[in-house]
């Protein structure tokens, strides 16, 4: 059983200062004005003191309805002493006594959301799976891994952690299972500033994740805590309102107008919150490096910063650099790398998110926005999922484009047909040997889909990349087909490198056809199409049951046989069956025929007496004959399409039993064939 026992890797107590990961990783050693800008933004200094850092706004969580979502006891303790309850939090220490915290809590109890909080409780959960989600979906790039989870290469050593993890409160004291699930299903709703981004997970995964984080081991959630109902006391709430207004909570949190906070102009670049020992004002417990950085920033805060600086600081503020490297900085450290899983066949590129160096030049702004908006993903093999940051990234695509702009040498006009040839394996360089194309798996390792190449990539960068892939992506398995700018294919377009690359781009952009060399495709990927012989498939089927045996005939007339009650159950025509769910879906849903229903037999409760199904045999034409015993007399039953009709033949030992119960389906015309007699009866079913 896995519980969230955090690794005691970097004790929080030793680092009481608030955590801004980007600062701790990249600036702590040499705190510059840029570092101070990052902190001024991330600590919310700018929210109180005004100004413009140029970075995405850092806000506090939504407080309306907070007492419905979080435990009052926890809230009170946190309000009273944030850094003790959650070491490393960016929420400053504001109050000096518990009574004030209690009053603030009661005031918050009066701040209600527009729509009341009514979370849905899940029926089933699996904390163990939740641990897998937590440790593989990307949560542990920011948060501390649990010690019970074994990543493939083993639990990393403490020394491999280069910086602290973003703290989690004691979640069992803070949330109910439903409220944590609700939060995790879209963190941006309650924390719109994107510092806790939204990871796209299936609904069940979110429940499992919450169950893991709260250590709920019963699969029905029977031991999950609930939020105790909170009733705000009027007198206390009034007192709390005054405290909230005087402490200027509304500078960071969205609160009613009655407690609005106006900016406090900065008169000096020292003292106040920056002081080492202060009380009565927000107290941040800043480290020396943090203080130094903030002072450096304040001294020069009117100075303009370049788009490059702004881009760098934005990526650090949102902790994009936890996963992505840019210009040699960032990406997961050795410890956190251990938790990235994916497709080992793709080497490091199959495990780790791509670098963002030159991202604004590489990717089209539309693609960046689609990725940030959760609409597009290029690397399905990465187990970590790119999260959404909400409005914090609204301007990021434009910012990256500005920061990474470069004088591009235009490519010549491409030849679409030549591009198609080049990408295929029939005389081309064979991109599809490794790369997928839309729904087509590649012929080998499953590198990313190239059908979206032109939607994603800008031509100038593409040219540079193709000539020397390793220079742009460390650890890529992608070879250069144009080493030193010389094409390895001297046949197509006379071996002209620029023309070839332009043609690949043009073919992808045209969006028509696919590269040559994929194997012939069947009509539906998992549709069963009887061609030269019947296809038999067992499944769960509606109106047939859990012992359904489907028989699809090349003539386009198909039946389902109920192997529990030994009776035919359904006839349909046209398409036979889509086997995807039966073959590959764990939930094993009850299926339906793919074609058009012709007729059904009535309910099996009317089935014949004492029937034992005995299986089936295939004849030389691979047509099944079903076998069953009716009151110990063996009956054989065979179906076969004939001239657009269905023929059904039953044979048995007439000496043992003169007659057996035979029922016919509704909606067909039943004709008994000539020569039919006891022990051998043949019926023809026809329909309009």
């Amino acid at each position: 059983m896995r519980t969230l026992v955090l690794l005691a890797v970097l004790p929080m107590a030793a680092h009481a200062e608030p955590l801004v990961t980007g600062f701790e990783r990249f600036h702590q050693q040499a705190p510059t004005a840029d570092a101070g800008r990052l902190l001024f933004n991330e600590f919310g200094c700018v929210n109180c003191h005004g100004g413009d850092t140029g970075l995405p706004a850092r806000r506090g969580p939504v407080l309306a309805g907070v007492t419905q979502r979080e435990q009052a006891e926890w809230l009170k303790a946190f309000i009273a002493d944030p850094a003790t309850v959650k070491p490393g939090t960016n929420m400053p220490h504001l109050l000096n006594d518990e009574a004030s915290a209690e009053a603030v809590l009661h005031y918050l109890g009066t701040v209600t959301p527009k729509t009341p909080f009514k979370p849905k409780g899940a029926k089933y959960m699996n904390a163990e799976r939740g641990s897998d989600v937590f440790h593989t979906a990307g949560c542990v790039t920011c948060h501390q891994p649990g010690k019970d989870f074994q990543p493939p290469a083993g639990v990393p050593a403490a020394k491999d952690y280069t910086h602290r993890s973003v703290p989690l409160s004691e979640l069992t004291k803070k949330y109910s299972l439903a409220s944590l699930t609700n939060f995790l299903s879209d963190p941006l709703k309650l924390r719109p500033d994107g510092r806790m981004p939204a990871i796209e997970l299936h609904e069940g995964d979110v429940t499992d994740l919450a169950a893991f984080l709260m250590d709920i081991q019963a699969s029905d959630g029977s031991n999950a805590p609930n939020i105790a109902p909170f009733k705000a006391d009027k007198a206390l709430a009034a007192k709390g309102k005054a405290i909230v207004a005087s402490m200027r909570c509304a500078a960071c949190h969205e609160l009613p107008k009655e407690v609005a906070a106006k900016p406090v102009a900065l008169k000096e670049n020292d003292g106040g919150c920056l002081d080492v020992k202060v009380s009565g004002v927000p107290r941040y417990d800043l480290s020396e490096a943090q203080r130094k950085a903030l002072k450096a920033y304040l001294a020069t805060r009117d100075a303009k910063i370049s788009a490059k600086q702004k881009a760098t600081l934005t990526l650090q503020a949102l902790n994009c650099t936890a996963c992505h490297e840019r210009d040699g900085l960032g990406g997961p450290d050795a410890a956190r790398k251990a938790y990235f899983t994916g497709d080992h066949n793709l080497g490091d590129t199959g495990l780790y998110p791509p670098p963002l160096t030159e991202a604004g030049r590489k990717l089209t702004p539309a693609w960046i926005n689609d990725v940030l908006g959760g609409k597009k993903r290029a690397r399905p093999y990465l187990q970590t999922t790119m999260p959404r940051f909400g409005k914090a990234t609204d301007d990021l695509a434009a910012l990256l484009a500005e920061a990474d702009a470069k004088q591009e040498k235009p490519l010549p006009e491409g030849d679409i047909a030549a591009g198609q040839k080049l990408m295929g394996t029939m005389g081309g360089i064979g991109c599809i040997t490794c790369h997928r194309w839309d729904k087509r798996p590649s012929l080998g390792i499953q590198a990313l889909d190239l059908s979206t190449l032109a939607q994603r990539i800008q031509p100038g960068w593409l040219r540079d990349y193709l000539i020397n892939p390793a220079a742009h992506r460390a650890g890529t398995l992608m070879p250069s087909f144009w080493p030193n700018g010389v094409s390895s294919n001297q046949v197509i377009l006379g071996g002209d490198t620029d023309k070839q690359i332009a043609s690949i781009y043009a073919f992808a952009k045209a969006g028509k056809g696919e590269p040559e060399g994929f194997p012939a495709m069947i009509a539906g990927e998992f549709e069963l199409i009887p061609k030269d012989r019947p296809i038999i498939q067992r499944t769960f089927m509606k109106d047939v049951g859990t012992h359904a045996i489907l028989v699809g005939f090349p003539a386009g007339i198909h039946i389902a046989y109920d192997g529990l009650h030994a009776r035919p159950a359904m006839i349909w025509k046209g398409k036979f069956f889509d086997a995807y769910n039966t073959w590959f879906t764990r939930a094993a849903p009850f299926e339906s025929p793919l074609g058009e229903l012709v007729a059904k037999w009535s309910d099996p409760s009317a089935a014949a007496d004492d029937v034992q199904f005995r299986g089936f045999k295939l004849d030389a034409a691979k047509v099944p004959t079903f076998l069953y015993d009716a009151a110990k007399v063996r009956v054989q039953e065979r179906f076969e399409p004939k001239d657009g009709m269905l023929q059904r033949t039953l044979t048995w030992d007439a000496a043992a039993r003169a007659d057996i119960g035979i029922s016919h389906p509704d909606g067909v015309t039943v004709t008994e064939a000539p020569g039919s007699a006891a022990g051998h009866r043949t019926f023809i079913y026809s329909w309009k």
């Binding site: 799976r129 593989t136 074994q150 069940g204 012929l443 498939q537 005995r614």
Partner: protein, 497 residues
């Protein structure tokens, strides 16, 4: 097939540094990764070899059934190159078969709904008879209603095991869900014992007694290996309603207790028997899936007669040594070989002494990153320094090693550490280790042949898992143990000789 070969050539042989005594070779591994519960998972190119059952034909070919519902006959399974292995489709359209056994000219497979006898009567290499051989359990349509087997015991009984249902359509009130059954006369089943949750693997030991491995979850605190017998109850009461049917061989006097330490729980229910071994969670796997008796005649290292326990989540194999104390099996689990490509579901030794490892991890998480496949483990003839056996004594344990030990380190009590613990028996999903104690090792006496060490230990507790760490023990050359930990399930403390 081309694709399969291309992929296979990329990852043909893995020699694991940590397990250098063994080589793992790919016969076929999926080009797709696992994607737990993904709604649009797809198999890779080539054969979707999600191995769910394996057995050997008389001519040395390997018969494999797959979750998708096919049966493949694999020729030349010991070929050095994956390209030289042949695959021939024998049967298809089955409903998630999860076990296969060769019987004469037939293959027996257990599908969701029945045990089916497959035969090729016209000699074209394809089955033309799909005859119902045995059925009688309820099939509700719940996804978790898996059925496993058959496996034959020493008396000729064909055993099957049935999961409890979960999810939509689940119905554990009827039809022997959570039971082990054997095939009866004229296509029926005979219920034998109850109390299982997800008893995914069956296997007989050298004496012909049948064992099954269940999986941690509700009521099952950690992976247990049970010796199956008529009339016993193991752990999970969720399928106990069937005991009210006249065919039931057992009837508990009342409900099982909830949230009590396991050693107490077992005393309140007379039919309840302890597992022969527990495989502690994380330390010796997380989801046991199969049992294979090592019958390699020394070609798989010195482990003949021991049980190999397949492990799904960790994609590895643990090793189990059993002994009889007071007439009942108990013994020790040892970590063994890891690093397989996918979640292991089936294990089978070939006549040549290689261990074939069948895998599919669709639907659940595994450290193996491939979605499915078949690999082969070959012993390189180099004996790994390991604890071969751990035997209980009235006042401690005897450890038997695969190689002579260094008398100084092995005779030093400081080379060892031991703790004991049990589990909470409850409806919750799994259990922490509870009631733990550190035990004092008072003596470590090395035998004259230096192959065994007699440990004297204070404070043995019956029904507790006794976890040993022998990190300090080396060979004369200073080599350390490949795996220094062992887990002995001390159901009974032997009487003083």
């Amino acid at each position: 097939m081309k694709t399969t070969l291309l992929l296979a050539s990329l990852v043909a042989v893995r020699v694991l540094a940590a397990d250098a005594a063994y080589t793992i070779t790919d016969l076929l591994t999926a080009s797709t990764t696992t994607a737990s519960r993904s709604a649009d998972w797809k198999p890779g190119q080539g054969i979707t070899l999600e191995v769910s059952g394996m057995d050997w034909l008389a001519d040395g070919k390997l018969a494999v059934c797959t979750r998708k519902g096919d049966v493949w006959i694999i020729s030349n399974p010991h070929a050095a190159k994956a390209a030289d292995v042949g695959y021939k489709l024998f049967a298809s359209g089955l409903h998630e078969p999860l076990g296969l056994q060769v019987e004469g000219d037939s293959l027996l497979v257990v599908q969701r709904s029945e045990m089916t006898r497959l035969r090729d009567t016209d000699g074209d290499g394809e089955a033309d008879e799909y005859l119902t051989d045995s059925r009688g359990w309820n099939v509700s349509g719940a996804y978790h209603g898996y059925a496993y087997g058959p496996k034959r015991d020493g008396k000729g009984n064909d055993w099957m095991t049935l999961n409890v249902d979960m999810g939509d359509h689940a119905n554990n009130k009827i039809g022997w869900r959570g039971w082990a059954v054997i095939k009866g006369a004229d296509g029926s089943i005979i219920p034998m014992c109850a109390g299982f949750r997800s008893p995914c693997g069956l296997g007989a030991n050298r004496e012909g007694d049948m064992f099954c491995v269940d999986q941690q979850g509700t009521w099952v605190p950690a992976t247990p290996v049970f010796h199956l017998r008529k009339g016993i109850f193991t752990l999970n009461p969720e399928g106990l309603d069937s005991q009210n049917r006249p065919e039931s061989p057992l009837k508990l006097a009342g409900p099982v207790p909830n949230k009590v330490p396991y050693p107490e729980a077992i005393k309140t229910v007379p039919q309840m028997v302890p597992p022969a071994v527990w495989l502690p969670y994380n330390k010796a796997g997380r989801s046991g899936t199969d049992i294979a008796l090592c019958v390699a005649g020394g070609k798989f290292g010195p482990f003949d007669g021991q049980l190999m326990i397949a492990e799904f989540t960790d994609a590895k194999i643990n090793r189990v040594f059993l002994e009889k104390v007071d007439g009942e099996y108990q013994g020790a689990a040892f970590p063994f070989i890891g690093g397989f490509a996918s979640g292991i579901v089936r294990l089978s030794f070939s006549k040549e002494g290689d261990l074939f490892v069948g895998m599919t991890s669709r639907g659940w998480s595994s450290l193996g990153t491939r979605a499915y496949g078949l690999q082969r483990v070959h012993w390189n003839g180099k004996t790994e320094f390991a604890i071969k056996e751990m035997r209980a004594q009235s006042d401690g344990f005897t450890l038997v090693f695969t190689e002579p030990v260094d008398a100084a380190t092995a005779g030093n009590v400081a080379s060892y550490a031991m703790s004991s613990y049990t589990y909470l028996y409850s409806s919750a999903y799994g259990s922490d280790e509870i009631d733990g104690q550190t035990l004092k090792i008072t003596a470590a006496e090395v035998s004259a042949d230096k192959l065994s060490v007699r440990l004297k230990v204070d404070g043995l507790r019956a029904l507790y898992v006794h976890e040993l760490h022998a990190d300090g023990v080396t060979t004369a050359n200073g080599a350390k143990l490949a795996h220094a930990n062992a887990f002995y399930t001390l159901n009974k403390i032997p009487k003083k000789p």
